[in-house]
């Protein structure tokens, strides 16, 4: 119970901080959701409800926006999110092998989280760094020219 209360408090704090930063006008909705998503890792229902109350927007509106954008998640994410670029330039230089290795090692597929809550695996659209493909991004760290052999070493850097 304690952790649940703490979690709820963390969510409310994140909402509060985002609104303090951006204000409550409609055009700030996406920046606000982005901030909360970044801090909590996803957008829990309480967060969406609180945002809808504070911005005086229908819940359906907030939910509609949240589910439209790929980077906003309504599902809990792991402590570290691995983004894999699924675009053609990365695909043709060995991206598929990297993607398969990631799934093999973590034993999860796209858009899933490991049972210990450490890793989430998602795909992303082109990151525009096609000169160094295949590319993966873990949290904010970009890794280019990735080979399947490097993946265990890269993953070991995160606790």
């Amino acid at each position: 119970m304690v952790t649940e209360t703490q979690n709820k408090q963390a969510v409310m704090n994140a909402v509060e901080a985002a609104i303090k930063e951006h204000g409550t006008s409609r055009e700030e909705l996406i920046p606000i959701l982005n901030d909360i998503n970044r801090k909590i890792g996803y957008l829990p229902q309480e967060a969406l409800e609180e945002v809808s109350r504070r911005l005086r927007l229908a819940k359906s509106q907030v939910f509609a926006v949240t589910t439209f954008y790929r980077m906003l998640s309504t599902k809990p994410r792991g402590r570290h999110v691995i983004q894999f670029c699924e675009s053609a330039p990365c695909h043709v230089v060995g991206g598929r092998e990297v993607w398969e290795t990631l799934q093999d090692i973590l034993k999860i597929s796209e858009d899933e989280t490991t049972p210990d809550g450490k890793w989430s695996l998602v795909t992303t659209s082109c990151l525009g760094i096609c000169g160094v493909g295949p590319v993966i991004v873990i949290d904010d760290d970009i890794y280019g020219n990735v080979t399947p052999e490097q993946i265990p070493d890269i993953l070991a850097r995160y606790s």
């Binding site: 006008s25 409609r26 055009e27 700030e28 909705l29 996406i30 920046p31 959701l33 982005n34 509106q61 509609a64 926006v65 439209f68 954008y69 790929r70 980077m71 906003l72 675009s87 053609a88 330039p89 043709v92 992303t124 659209s125 082109c126 990151l127 525009g128 760094i129 096609c130 000169g131 160094v132 904010d140």
Partner: protein, 594 residues
């Protein structure tokens, strides 16, 4: 204070210390004493000069600015005698120029003309003074002090600049529409939502030369009378967002943004808006919806943004590249810009050249250059000297152009005439080993996934096309599929709401037109001519060439290969998953695809 005629800075970073930098310093000091130069040459310790792995121990000698590298104690007496006593630079100790490979943007290749990319990689993007030193903000000063807004618009109009986001609408005309609106509140937007896979021209400009875009936007705002501007940048480009924010902050500090810019009485400010991952937001009406905090869904036009745009106000929206060339046009004049290009497309265009060419990366070429020149002169030809098959232009909504049109001069009209588009500037070169049905399927997968779902033709139609293409690639193509595809292409492009849906069938329509025989081979002969589609190929071991070395059998992930040592091996097609590993590991080229 002692006066030295020469200063030597020796690198003492950990890498150089490990390689004996301190011993080198001691030897240098001893030798200078021995030669009686110790009062003329000062030795200082400094941090890293070059990469210690490549160069250490190394030193810089001033005032000449010579970089000596890979020095050992034994080199010092000769160096001191030659350089400090006789005044001769010792070439053999000089650091070899190790060019840091810029894989995106190398030195200009033959036939390139760099206007948009001129500062990229040359100036510090986080320092506005670097940009100003290269003539930056001169155009803004000229526009604000010597030109009326109408004159600015007239100059842009006469330059022939057209929308570099891909549609090619004359920029000056767009500005005129926004200018003519009587509404006192107007907005200006920079579309930096560069979503085409493999296209990164705009990212590079934003990260390497943000002020050219900021300056172009201020000039545009002055021309149309806008007070507030937004740069809508996709969230996948965090560094571009950061660089832009630094640039905007510095421009404010220099009085180039904000109230009363350069004392002209004109006020304007800029803000960066970040997307949240939606390809369709590159469409202008969807982009504005996203800035307003809504789902990024396009709406029908008219009304065009110049009449009713952001927050219902007149809005001018241009691409990154369009704004980035505006300052150049203002400084050098409309005639200068219009002197480059063709009858209907003026100036230069950046492209991201990718695929099977020798030199991939960013290029900037004048309009009118032929596709052949781009592939063979700028791109250096096809990799491994294979045969050219097609070039795909315009991103996922573009078409595939076959060899017969290689001598086509590139401009907006000519590309449209062969069923493709200019688009934002992606260019993918494909060699003979590319299956055109597979390529069409790949692009359709992308557009189908990115369709926002608002209008039926795009939402449902792209899915039907994808299903049929997938079936054909799996060897389950049926008689009548080609005709159905053609009908779908026609209807989706004529009835979809926005550019995404209207352009989505292009990869299919163009490959159906130019590579129809490949579709027919897949459907009627169950054969993939390029040997790509897995369901339509079999791997076979050639008897007589196979030495029975067992390498293939040991590497096969599904144990589909059998055979005794020193006997010809055999692949069981029912177990084989067509992964191709056997072919890669075979040392005798004994495996072929049928």
């Amino acid at each position: 204070m002692a006066f030295y005629r020469s200063h030597v800075l020796v690198s003492v970073d950990p890498g150089c210390l490990a390689k004996g930098a301190l011993e080198v310093i001691d030897a240098l000091h001893d030798e200078l004493v021995a030669q009686g130069l110790v009062d003329e040459v000062q030795v200082l310790e400094t941090s890293r000069i070059g990469d210690p792995v490549q160069y250490g121990p190394d030193m810089m000698v001033y005032p000449e600015g010579v970089h000596y590298a890979n020095l050992s104690v034994d080199d010092i007496p000769y160096l001191v005698e030659e350089h400090f006593l006789k005044g001769r630079i010792v070439e053999k100790f000089r650091a070899k120029e190790i060019t840091v490979a810029d894989e995106e943007l190398g030195a200009p290749k033959p036939k390139e003309v760099r206007i948009v990319l001129r500062n990229c990689g040359k100036i510090d993007p986080n320092n506005i003074e670097d940009y100003i030193a290269e003539g930056g903000y001169m155009a803004l000063a000229k526009a604000l002090s010597e030109m009326t807004p109408e004159e600015v618009i007239d100059t842009v109009l006469r330059s022939g600049l057209a929308g570099r986001g891909g549609a090619g609408f004359p920029t000056g005309k767009k500005w005129q529409f926004a200018r003519n609106s009587s509404d006192p509140v107007k907005y200006i937007i920079c579309n930096a939502d560069e979503g085409d896979p493999g296209a990164f021209m705009n990212r590079r400009v934003l990260e390497s030369d943000p002020h050219s875009v900021i300056e172009g936007m201020i000039i545009a705002a002055y021309a149309i009378g806008a007070q507030q501007g937004y740069i809508y940048c996709r969230a996948e480009y965090p560094l571009a967002v950061k660089t832009l924010n630094i640039g905007i902050q510095q421009a404010r500090e220099f009085g180039l943004l904000g109230e009363n810019i350069l004392g002209s009485g004109f006020s304007f400010d800029l803000e960066v808006r970040q997307g949240a991952g939606a390809f369709v937001c590159g469409e202008e009406t969807a982009l504005m919806a996203s800035i307003e905090g809504r789902r990024g869904e396009p709406r029908p036009r008219p009304p065009f943004p110049a009449v009713k745009g952001l927050f219902g106000k007149p809005t001018n929206i241009n691409n990154v590249e369009t704004y980035a060339v505006v300052p150049q046009i203002i400084v050098n004049g409309a005639e200068w810009y219009a002197s480059m290009g063709t009858e209907n497309s003026k100036g230069t265009k950046t492209f991201a050249l990718a695929g099977d060419v020798k030199h991939t990366g960013l290029i900037e070429v004048p309009f009118g250059i032929t596709l052949r020149e781009i592939v063979y002169d700028v791109g250096g030809g096809i990799k491994d000297d294979k045969k050219f098959k097609a070039i795909q232009t315009g991103g996922p909504m573009g078409g595939c152009i076959p060899e017969q049109y290689l001598d086509l001069p590139v401009d907006y009209k000519s590309l449209a005439s062969v069923g493709s588009i200019m688009g934002s500037g992606g260019m993918i070169v494909m060699d003979e080993e590319t299956c055109m049905v597979d390529i069409a399927r790949f692009f359709m997968e992308f557009t189908q996934d990115e369709s926002c779902g608002k209008c039926v033709p795009c939402r449902v139609g792209t899915r039907r096309i994808l299903e049929i293409l997938t079936r054909i690639c799996e060897g389950k193509g049926r008689d009548g599929d080609i005709e159905t595809l053609e009908e779908l292409c026609r209807e989706i492009s004529s009835t979809s709401l926005c550019g995404l849906g209207q352009g989505a069938p292009n990869p299919v329509a163009s490959t159906l037109k130019y590579f129809r025989h490949e579709y027919e081979a897949h459907i009627y002969e169950k054969r993939c001519p390029a040997k790509v589609c897995r369901a339509l190929i079999t791997y076979e071991i050639i008897a007589g060439v196979c030495t029975g070395c067992t390498v293939c059998a040991r590497n096969c992930p599904v144990n589909a290969i059998s055979g005794e040592r020193r006997q010809t091996h055999h692949i069981d097609p029912d177990i084989c998953i067509r992964c191709g590993i056997c072919m890669q590991v075979c040392n005798f080229n004994a495996i072929r695809i049928n």
